[in-house]
């Protein structure tokens, strides 16, 4: 009896799985439950913590309302961190967009050695962020910086007097540049301290962020260009559109949605990254180069103030929400076109 009943019950369960109505949810449920437990719950916990004065060692604290948010909002270090987060993100993304646009157009057509050059271009994206940043720690070293050596040494063997710093000074140490481009003249006897001076450290951080996002944006751009159907290209050619005209009226509008997606990803990668600043300057000198993420880490982990730390990192939430909304919009538009 039982030997017959068991397979039948099993078969009924299998029949149930044959129906879309049951199979779909059965396949999705494990992933959804996992995500709710490991992303949703901690997010709610973070929001709860930000309203308490919880300290490391306990999960609860007294409810303090918006005190953490208000206190951080008035904190000069937080204000710097917020400004820096915006500065790093905006400037690095401008550099990335221009660079990726140029690179993608150059890399799309086959040429000799493309495989190797593409590998070189992709290296920064493939390398773990933390490890790449350590490379820059050495490149920007106080005493042995190769950047400084290259700029202040005579590059022509035998004394041709080709000093890079003279060229850099000639171009950038001028009054007509706006403040964030203009630099103080490089003095060969006291070369720039890339990670020891606030403005230079910020430039270095922006450089590293651009360096690591550029390959990713390039890859997405290439995909965007490649996804333009050849019919469109042919039609444009027949209609006599060439060169710049073709770029502005045909290629650019078609690439815009996917370029926007690359930009939005770039914004998320930059604003939410902690490794670059943590390794390069650890917020120094004098807490002047922090981002929201590193300041939240210093407050929440190093100073063990969970409540304020959670509040600081939650200031990221509006940015992420805005990015999410934009991304959905453009993703849908990309699908339509």
């Amino acid at each position: 009896m039982e030997a017959v009943a068991l397979p039948r019950r099993r078969r009924r369960r299998l029949d149930l799985l044959e129906q879309r109505r049951f199979l779909g949810p059965a396949l999705i449920a494990p992933a959804v439950i996992f995500i709710v437990a490991l992303v949703g719950a901690p997010l709610l916990l973070a929001i709860y913590l930000s309203f308490t004065n919880a300290h490391s060692g306990s999960l609860s604290g007294d409810f303090v309302g918006f005190a953490n948010y208000a206190q951080e909002w008035r904190n000069p270090v937080f204000q710097d961190a917020l400004r820096n987060t915006v500065l790093y993100t905006v400037v690095s993304q401008i550099i990335v967009l221009i660079g990726a646009g140029l690179l993608a157009h150059a890399l799309i057509k086959p040429f000799r050695g493309r495989w190797f050059l593409r590998l070189l271009v992709l290296l920064p994206w493939a390398a773990p962020v933390a490890l790449g940043t350590i490379g820059f720690l050495w490149i920007f070293d106080a005493l042995f910086s190769v950047v400084n050596w290259t700029t202040v040494h005579d590059l022509m063997p035998g004394g041709g007097e080709l000093y890079l710093y003279k060229i850099v000074n000639f171009v950038f140490a001028r009054d007509f540049w706006p403040g964030f481009i203009q630099i103080g003249a490089i003095d060969p006897l006291s070369p720039p301290q890339w990670l020891g001076q606030t403005e230079l450290a910020k430039a270095a951080i922006i450089g590293v962020h651009s360096w690591r996002i550029l390959p990713f944006a390039t890859v997405i751009f290439i995909a965007g260009i490649a996804s333009i159907p050849t019919e469109v290209q042919d039609a444009a050619k027949i209609d006599g559109a060439t060169g710049l005209k073709k770029f502005f009226y045909v290629s650019l509008p078609l690439q815009l949605p996917i370029a926007t997606v690359a930009l939005l990803f770039g914004i998320v990668f930059t604003t939410t990254d902690m490794a670059v600043v943590y390794i390069l300057t650890h917020g120094g000198p004098f807490n002047s180069t922090h981002m929201l993420t590193t300041w939240a880490f210093d407050t929440g982990i190093n100073s063990a103030s969970l409540g304020p730390g959670a509040a600081i990192s939650l200031y990221l939430l509006p940015v992420l929400a805005a990015v999410a909304i934009l991304m959905l919009r453009f993703a849908r538009r990309a699908e339509v076109s």
């Binding site: 799985l17 044959e18 949810p25 999705i28 494990p30 992933a31 959804v32 996992f34 490991l38 992303v39 901690p42 997010l43 916990l45 913590l49 999960l59 660079g99 690179l103 157009h105 150059a106 890399l107 050059l117 593409r118 590998l119 271009v121 992709l122 290296l123 493939a126 390398a127 773990p128 962020v129 933390a130 490890l131 790449g132 350590i134 490379g135 050495w138 490149i139 005493l143 042995f144 190769v146 360096w211 550029l214 390959p215 890859v219 997405i220 290439i222 995909a223 996917i258 998320v268 490794a275 993420t293 880490f297 929440g300 982990i301 969970l306 730390g309 959670a310 939650l314 999410a324 991304m327």
Partner: protein, 279 residues
């Protein structure tokens, strides 16, 4: 003729300068990794060439014999393998179901899963560190195995969904008509075809694990439990003592390995990301 030659130079004129800047840090890591201390710290020497006690294998031997580098590599591979397994087990069925079986609610669910990928570790690490301590997992790599799927599962589900959408449904329908069950069609028809896609997800999930820094630096305080990213960044830099030679060797080796993997799977990744045509 002249125009032709100039056009031939076109891509190189742009790509070569970019490639030099982007790859320079790795060239510099390699140079430093093979330099002896006398050459490295002599300000009179030209840094672009070897002199005195360079080139040397000393830094690399030091890295492998006198530091925990191999332990960190082992930890990373172990954590990566477990996370990849968990991710595939959850993301494969979910990605397939979202691509094929669900209607309107499935679209919203897919968007919801995608949005969770935007919630970064830097927002969750504080509550997460408390939870990990409560579970008694602090200071152990098991904490990373538990937490990493929180960002790899949404990412992998999204990517898998893209891959499955590029497979024509007619293939499964044919199998169903031939008498296969839905699960059977999935196992014998869909999964074998999507193997390249699955492999791509494996590579990128693994590299996300190698990349992760915030959780690893927050949860783990003893050297022997660290992953490569955090181990090299914190243990080889202690106070003011920088072992630059072996430090650079330790950053270069994992980076190059990952770069080769990336380059091999890049075209697949692009196809999945843009949901390109079935080829």
């Amino acid at each position: 003729m002249r125009a032709l030659r100039l056009r031939g130079l076109g891509p190189y004129g742009i790509v070569v300068p970019f490639a030099i800047v982007l790859a320079f840090p790795f060239y510099w890591m390699a140079m430093t990794a093979f330099k002896g201390p006398t050459d490295l710290f002599n300000l009179e020497n030209i840094p672009y060439s070897f002199a005195d006690d360079s080139p040397t294998w000393g830094n690399i031997t030091f890295l492998f014999t006198d530091t925990l580098f191999l332990t960190w590599v082992k930890n990373t591979v172990l954590v990566g393998a477990v996370v990849v397994a968990i991710t595939l087990a959850l993301a494969l069925p979910a990605g397939y179901a979202l691509a094929r079986l669900s209607g309107r609610w499935g679209q919203w669910l897919a968007i919801g899963i995608f949005l969770t990928y935007l919630v970064p570790p830097t927002l969750l690490f504080l509550p997460m560190s408390r939870v990990i301590t409560e579970l008694g997992l602090d200071n152990s790599k098991y904490a990373l195995m538990l937490v990493y799927p929180s960002f790899t599962v949404p990412f992998a589900t999204w990517l898998m969904m893209g891959f499955f959408k590029t497979i024509p449904p007619e293939l499964e329908e044919a199998a169903l008509i031939d008498g296969a069950s839905r699960i059977g069609a999935l196992r014998r028809v869909v999964f074998p075809i999507s193997l390249p896609g699955i492999l791509t997800v494996v590579i990128f999930t693994f590299s996300l694990c190698v990349n992760e820094f915030v959780y690893a630096v927050t949860f783990i305080s003893s050297s022997a439990e660290r992953t490569v990213s955090v181990g090299v960044a914190t243990d080889l830099i202690r106070g003011d003592v920088y072992q630059w030679g072996s430090l650079m060797a330790g950053t270069l080796l994992p980076s190059l390995l990952l770069a080769l993997l990336y380059n091999t799977f890049l075209n697949r990744f692009i196809a999945g990301f843009t949901g390109g045509a079935f080829r």
